[in-house]
């Protein structure tokens, strides 16, 4: 999968980025920009921390990319999906937790009826709420505020890039939208 971007602490404006990044613990994750039948995007509002993110998350032991994607999206967004395009991979080297995260990202369409999200305890504590926003508004919601926390800033860099890419894909091929 094409690497869209590699983010480091330098991209957060923190001057020092660790030189020993290849030794970081690896976390792989699957994420999706999901279009509903109304052509809205499903975003997760993290109420207690004042930001929005795209649904998705890390692989569990032994899972394939497809399994991780479908499970994470069903748990967080409560949606069954059909992938319509690959968006690309985003690499993050987070110095603080010494973590290398690779996110594999897709443009997908919701199929069938939505079900309730099945949030983890951590997500419930963070105040996760599922929202449906037009793509432009989703992009605004994800990129606008200047967040104070380290992890959310990485999510913001990544998810605003992913939504921008999804927007480009759709602009070039309007047939991707449901009619």
């Amino acid at each position: 999968m094409k690497i869209l971007a590699t983010f480091t602490d330098q991209d957060l404006g923190i001057q020092e980025a660790s030189p020993n990044r290849e030794s970081f613990r690896l976390r792989e994750a699957a994420r999706a920009v999901i279009l509903t039948p109304e052509n809205k995007v499903i975003v997760m509002q993290v109420k207690n921390h004042g930001f929005y993110k795209l649904p998705g998350g890390g692989f569990e032991h032994g899972e394939s990319l497809e399994q991780a994607l479908n499970r994470e999206i069903l748990e967080e967004a409560g949606a069954k999906i059909k992938v319509i395009e690959m968006i690309g991979a985003v690499h993050e080297y987070r110095d603080k937790p010494k973590l290398k995260q690779i996110s594999y990202c897709f443009l997908a369409r919701q199929v069938g009826e939505l079900i309730e999200s099945n949030f983890t305890e951590e997500e419930m504590n963070d105040g996760f709420v599922r929202q449906f926003l037009p793509l432009e508004k989703a992009l605004n919601a994800v990129s606008k505020p200047i967040l104070k926390k380290y992890g959310p800033r990485y999510m913001q860099l990544r998810d605003s890039l992913l939504l921008t890419q999804a927007n480009k894909l759709i602009k070039n091929r309007p047939s991707l939208l449901a009619r």
Partner: protein
């Protein structure tokens, strides 16, 4: 005894760091004008005060101890200028600014961001009955529209606040 003060709001490295969410672009012109303002006020025996923002629970911008919180080095500062470190938008909250402004009746304000800390200082000082002049072209926000709207709204809601460019201030 000094009766007037010049307060320079949050002119810190964070705003000239290209990767920061608070990056304002090249501030050379703004700093040049601000230095002219500082020299002019210094010659007229104004008390010179710099505010410095430190965000206590931030892990990135304005983080305590980071280079981003330091004042921009090209400012015409003197050792005996006052520096007020603040943790909230208002420079009066849990700081010694009140004490520094004892006997002061007029405050001249410049700095960044127009709609955040400049506005907060202006309105909080207004409510403490100081005469206030804001030097518009020595202030900046993340975008021009916000800058202009903020000054327009301050003027519309607090008519005693004077808003002027550096040139007008020099000619006074």
């Amino acid at each position: 005894m000094q009766k007037k003060a010049l307060i320079l709001v949050d002119l810190q490295n964070e705003f000239i760091n290209k990767k920061s969410g608070y990056y304002l672009g090249d501030l050379k012109d703004l700093i040049n004008r601000t230095n002219q303002l500082i020299e002019l006020c210094r010659n007229q025996d104004y008390k010179i005060i710099f505010t410095q923002h430190v965000e206590l629970n931030s892990e990135i911008e304005f983080k305590q101890g980071s280079s981003g919180v330091e004042l921009i080095s090209s400012l015409a500062r003197h050792e005996d200028d006052v520096v007020i470190i603040k943790n909230k938008i208002s420079p009066f909250y849990k700081t010694t600014l009140n004490k520094e402004l004892k006997n002061i009746s007029e405050i001249v304000i410049a700095g960044v961001l127009t709609n955040l800390c400049v506005r907060s200082l202006s309105q909080d000082a207004y409510d403490r009955d100081y005469e206030i002049k804001i030097i518009a072209d020595c202030c900046q926000a993340l975008d021009k529209k916000t800058h202009e709207f903020t000054l327009q709204d301050l003027k519309a809601t607090r008519e005693d606040i004077e808003i002027m460019d550096l040139k007008e201030f020099i000619l006074q």
